[in-house]
Structures are given as structure tokens and as C-alpha cells.
Amino acid sequence: MRPKIAVHKFSSCDGCQLALLNAGEDLLALSELVEIVHFAEAGYLDDEAEVDIAFVEGSVTTPQEERRIRAIRQRSGRLITLGACATAGGLQALRNLADGEQWMADIYPHPELIAHLPTSTPIADHVPVDFEIWGCPVNTRQVTGAVRSLLSGVMPRVDQEKVCLECKRHNSVCVMVAGGQPCMGPVTNTGCGALCPSVGRGCYACFGPAENVNTASLARRFQTLGMAGAEIGHRFLHINNGAPVFNGEGRRWLEPDHD
């Protein structure tokens, strides 16, 4: 019996699902190995089915999504989050730091007609998550790798080392040491292949925090590069602003006396 899989979308940009839709031949190969039962973007629509593996993209931002994720959890064997939105609340979790209601009113003439929550929260705030895949977006290698592991009867490998190590494996020249550019690599989770430094720009932490990070030391380093407090804060309050270690560091630098 091929395992059944589902891909669900919550509040997101759809970029993570593209890890599958852009997989080309691998997408066809995957459809032989598993039975895709729900994946709206690819035309599979059985939201109610029991599945062995559920991939979830997106964060929870509406009452309906709150209910839906609980129902999905109940009929899914393993639940795996895909990407920054599902794993840390996404870029849109920036609203959690502000007056989200005021923001709504600034954009919509009738915000009261829109069913929404004041916050954008990761899936794990609502239901237990079996495995998290970080990235904004996640890439095909990560997702097919996870599927392969599960097919082999093991959980995917957790790798939380820092981008720096991969950056050096690629023999890229450090943009912070040699170029004076701020780089989040020393606190960011590996997985992207250290893309940004490989093309000469600093990492902006789209893969979330690595293990055992020293955000305070990195922030001090940014200061020596001549950055103002708010700019330093924004480095941490970016794609993965909802990740607790980034959130805490970022907010510290946004406080007025920190400039």
C-alpha cells in the first residue's frame, strides 16, 4: 500500500508548495511512490481523507483556519510543516508586534466583515507537529528528502547547524568579514546551500534560527558595522520574526533607548 499524502494550505504565498510543483520528473516519480489525495494546487481534492502524511503550508490567521488545522491533525498520521509561515508564523507574523486591528482598518473600509484573528501563528501553536521543515521557501530537496525518509521508515534527519558552515563548504568569501555587510548566517539554520553569501550578499535568515545561537553577539557585531538599532532589530524581525530567539533579540533593538 502506497502511503497517502495531503498538502494543505493556510495563510501563505504558495511558494512552499512549489517545492513539489516545480519538482518536474520528481513530481511524477513521487506520484508513483505515494498516493496524493489532497493537494488543491495540483488538482487533488479530498480534504476529508485520512492520510499517512500531511504537509502543511501557511500560518493560522483566521478562526476557520484554527478549526481546520485541528481537523487535519485528527485525520493525519504524521503532520509536517512546510516553511516559515507554518513553522514560525511567517513574515505576516509581523502583525503580532503591531496593532493588527489598526492595520486592518488602514487597508479595508469594512474590516469588521473579515473573519480574522489578530495574530499569525505557527501550526505548532495549535496542534502537535511531528516534523518541521524550515525555509522561505522550502526547497525540493528538503521535501522529497523528507518523503524519502518516511518511506524508508525513519523520521527525516534534523540538521540545525549554521549557514556559515555550508557557506565555507561552498568556498564562498565571507561577506561580513571581507565586505562589511551584515549577515545572519551565524545564527541561521542551514538548508538553503548558503545561497546568499554565494552571490555576495548577507543572509537574511529565511531558514529560521539554528541551534545554540548567540544573537546578542551577532547584534553587537552589526553595531560595529555602523548599523542603527532599528536596522539591527529589523534583521531579526524579518521572515522568521515569530521564532522566539529572533523575536526577543529583534524587539530589544527596536526599543528607543537602544540606538
Binding site: 511558494g15 488538482g43 480534504d47 490567521t61 466583515l113 522561505c136
Partner: protein, 440 residues
Amino acid sequence: MIDSREVSIKVPVLARVEGEGALEMSIRNGVIDQLRLRIFEPPRLFEKFLEGRSYSDVPDIVARICGICPVAYQMSAVHALEQAFSMQPGPWVREMRRLFYCGEWLQSHALHIHLLAAPDFLHYHSAIEMAKEFPQEVRRGLKLQELGNAIVRLLGARSVHPIGASVGGFVYAPAPEQAAALLGRLRRAVPEAEALVHWIAGIELPDEPEAFITVCLRHPGEYPMNEGRIVASTGLDIDIAEYPDYFREQQAPHATALHSHLYPEGVAAGGGTPYLVGPIARLNHNLDRLPAAVRVNLDQTGIRFPSNNMFHSALARAVEIHYALLESIRILERYSLPEVAAVAPTPRAGVGFGATEAPRGLLWHRFQLDHTGHVQKATIIPPTSQNQARIEEDLRRSLAMYGLDRSDDELRLHGEMVIRNYDPCISCSTHFLKLRVERA
């Protein structure tokens, strides 16, 4: 019997629309009483959290509005910001941005045609199912999609949320060897793009001519992507900065999204009307900007543009795939390393506008910045919110013509097909929202 039927069709998840939406409609006494395209996409409030951010963060942030057309968001944004800073990054950057955009058109159009539209037309649930009987066609589609991704990767290191675009140009210039290798792959794919146009043209589709207003960019010398004036089939021809004078979005009380309307005589004069943006609009207005090879290939199909049949939108996409491929080849044939890949911006206070042609149509940005280059106010009008009113109008008309006496399933499938013509990318709708349904 028909007259006495009361039907309410709900499509809880609209299959194969990127993002999840729903269509609700009720038919009373043989006429459509209510029709709503419901979008479940919750607001992600990008315009608000851009406020206070440095201009240099903007390309990375706006990309996250849509994973399928991040390049479009980046391009509208950098053009708007550069206009605010009164800077011009020069010919190399200009050409590379065009190439970047070609990659996105190729990728997005190929994805739409093969994973979304063609399975519809040929009655399959999915492309994967379709691949069993059309293996060559699906593989060709996947290959063109991958070529588009490869172009985006050349300039952006990855295809979704690429990291290469910056205000002032690009973070890096690709190595000539990489450009040359990609050029070879693109050249080999030309016959496939030509064949794709014929394949799509050969699929039998409803012939439903109708009158609709089209809006897109028009450039004096080229098929529009990053630059041009905004034109409409009403004869409108304005600078992109004048957009707010002629277009307005409203949160209509019955509607589920902000609907954009065009006011041909200016917003003040009233008389707003739905309009279409996207491939058909672009092709209808810019046929004379296509290279001969693209036009000859299209002519051979026997289908003529300008077209007023919305079911030609997949064909228009195929034609644009052909065009984007040839345009990429043209650009890459002349590729050389620039002196610098980006001009360093000098921030200053001001307002800038950017309008580019996203795969799904006109994408309009306005940024107001302070003297340090931090965003004070951002407005982003994506193509899907512009097409929204048009889709509902089209649904009402097309379903009535199709015959409201059809079974629920048939109506649903037809409705889906109509919607699909617009390729509504629901995630990218910074304005789309779900309203509580009010029922009479």
C-alpha cells in the same frame, strides 16, 4: 421544470487555483440570483508591514506576497523605488530585468497551462493523471517550466523568492559560462514552444465571444514587461502615475474581495466598469510588438488575435511562452559581464510608481519614502484583484449561455473553467478577503 429549480452550488475548494477560493451561486427561476467568488485567503497585510522598513528590505518582503510570481513583485517594487530616488540603473540592468521576467513568464505560464488549464480542457483531475495519456505533452510542459525556473535561478540563485534583485540592479552578475550553458538549453527548446502553441490551439474549446475591456502596459518599442504606459481598449493611455485617477478599488458590501473598476473618464466622473488584465489583454494590445517568428507560428494555428474569447487565454499564455523563450535567447546571445551589476542608490524622500506585467497582468506599486529611504506608505494592486469584478461578470454570462439547466456538476466544472482562464493567483491578492456571508 427549469424555471422552478433552485440551485445553490458550493465549491468549497476551487481546485487548481493557486490558493484556495470558492464559488457560491444560487439560481432562482432559471436566472442567477447570487454569484460570489469567495476567496479564503486571509489578509496578510503586506502594505502595512512595509512601513518603516528600509528600501533595501523591500524586494525580499514583497516577494513573499506570491510564491508563483515573486519576480513581478520585486520588479514593480524596484522600479517604483528607483523612480522615487530618481535613478536609472542603465542598459545592462534593464536587459537583465527583462530576462528575469521572461523566466517568470515561462515558469508561471507553463505551470498554469500544464498543471491547471490543460487537465481542465482535457477532462483530467490532475496533470499527473493526464501524464499517463499525454506523457510527451506533460513532460514538455515540465521542461519549459524548468527552463523558466532556470532563468530565474541564473539571476536570482533560486526560483522561488529569488535573492538576486536589488534596488539599483542585481546583487551579482551571472558568469558568462553559466549564461552560455543556459542559452544552449533555451535554443533547443524553441521547437517545443512552437509545438506547444499548436497543441493548445488544437484543443477544442468553447467559442464565446464577448465584449470586455482590456488593460495593460504598452511600450513604444517592445512587448511590455517592466515599462510602458497604461492603455485600455477604451482608448485610455496614461502614465503609470495617473493610475489612481482612473482606477479604484472598492470593498463592495456584497462582494468577497476588493474589486477594481476602471473609470474611463476619471474616477470623479463615475461610471466604473470591470476590466481584464493579463495575457489576452497584453496580446490584444501588443501584437505589433511580437517578433515575426512568434506571429507566424501563431498565424499558422488559424486563430486570430485580437481575441474577445476568454477561452483563448491559455493560447495567449502559450504564445507568451514562445515569446519569452525567444526574448531570453536574444538577451543571452548578447550577454556580457557588466562593469557593475547594480548602481548604489542614494535614498531621498519622495514618491515612486512602478507598474509591470506580472504573468497574470498589470501589477501596480506606489511607495512613499522618507529621506533615509524608509517606507512611509505602500500601495500594491495585484492583477487578481483587478480581474475580480471581471471574473464574476464573466461567470454570470458564461454560465447562463452554457445553460443553467445543466447538472450541478456540469455547472461547477464549467464555472471552474471560466475562472481558470484568469489564472487567479489568490495568494498574491494582498487585498483579497473572506467576508461573512450575508444571506437574504
